[in-house]
Amino acid sequence: METFKGYERPVGPAGVRNFVAVLPISVGASPVADEIASRAGENVRATPHQMGADPPKQAREQIERTLSGIGQNPNVGAALVVELGTESIAADDIADEIAAMERTVETLSIRDVGGTTAALETGTDCARELWDEITDQRRIECDVSELRFGVECGGSDATSGIAANPAVGAACDLLVEDGGTATFSETPEFIGAEHILADRCVNEDIREKLLDRVDRREANAHLMGVDFRGAQPSPGNQEGGLTTIEEKSLGAISKGGTTPVRGIVDYAEQLPVGGGLVLMDTPGYDVESVVGKVAGGAQVIAFTTGRGSTTGNPIAPVIKVTGNPKTADRLANNMDVDASTVIEGESIGSVGKRIYETVRSVASGERTAAEVRRLEEFAINELQPNELADLEGEA
């Protein structure tokens, strides 16, 4: 049995970190959440974001699902939900969702306590008290089948499809074999490779859902009267040798490994535990996409990059993997695993084993390059007008 040392939770799988999360409801509450976290200490993490106070219904539901999911992530031991007090989303509703996972959760209304200064004082005290409640928790031996492992790529180049992605895919295969869940997303990057994923779906329902999601993302491009060229692959991807979205997609899907596709969930929807390979329907923007998977419960993320990426996440450790020898050298400070050895002749399987070992040691507490440097980007996917119209039509 493969194990990691995690924090046991009253409900759900074990955490790989033990954080107090400070979750703002809106952009207006975000600076307060951020400042509370920096005053309250190392283990208090904020998730500031850009969403407004009164978004349309479908967008609101997605924000609620994301914030609740982040608060329910196994890496969160306790949470403080911060509202300005004028939002259409109530902090109490998010808190109730988090409390359902038997975590201690408090709320703070900036308007009710008398403005920013008072909110910072009250909030900082509250976050410290929440930390006192969970500070005694100790890591215990947990089965790797409790892990939901999210994989992401960003700043791709030709080496992503040749080295880093298939190596991370080999790590996914090992985790799935050991009973865990692996997930990748970014539906626009299924385009041109969806027939391969569709053939791997375990049943017709999942297959149809997958193809429908790909059609929807492609139709969005059609609706706008634009093609993906220029945006997909991005100019940087193109400089790195990627010519078309099909080429990028064929390289991108290899980061999920080779096991059957057992499901596809919506952005920030809960990922199953012990579920094998499950896809998430997210946009191609990597920071939003990582947040969707962490809200879905992913405790650990591996992030492949050819050209270079430094981003992390406040709640889940992000392991950086590069297949580009120049990036491995230039961005050595920001990388955790060098997969460029594939180009020198190391086998994909061997690098995959190294990545899997890194996943388990990071899950057991070893800090990633992004964590050491406190790189904690956070953004919630904002539904675009045409996506809202599409979802309204369906509702």
């Binding site: 030709a158 040798g241 979205i245 580009n324």
Partner: protein
């Protein structure tokens, strides 16, 4: 590495692929061993970029990973750099939908 490395210079992902990926910055004139002979580079090709193994005409499918990655927009000879100047996607093409709509 998956696929076959040709002469330590380029990676051929599957036997069906019409292109290889340079695994070093390659100069014009470099000879890549392929199919019992060699393909000579007609221009410099940077690391990570693709080289045609076979000649092709506009409309021909470009194959990498054993799958279509798009089609040629220009005539290409073996040993040429294959990228956005002579190869385009066939997917997510809102511009093509628009153009077709105008014809109707």
């Amino acid at each position: 590495m998956k696929g076959e490395v040709l002469g330590d210079l380029a990676l051929h992902m599957t036997a069906d692929d019409t292109v290889v990926t340079a695994i070093d910055d390659l100069e014009a004139g470099t000879e890549i061993p392929y199919d019992g002979g060699t393909v000579g580079l007609v221009e410099d090709v940077p690391f990570g970029h693709k080289i045609a193994l076979v000649a092709g005409e506009p409309g021909d499918t470009v194959v990498k990973y054993g799958e279509s990655i798009g089609r040629l927009t220009e005539p290409v000879e073996a040993g040429e750099w294959v990228h956005t100047h002579n190869c385009e996607s066939t997917r997510g093409r809102g511009d093509i939908v628009e153009a077709d709509a105008e014809v109707v």
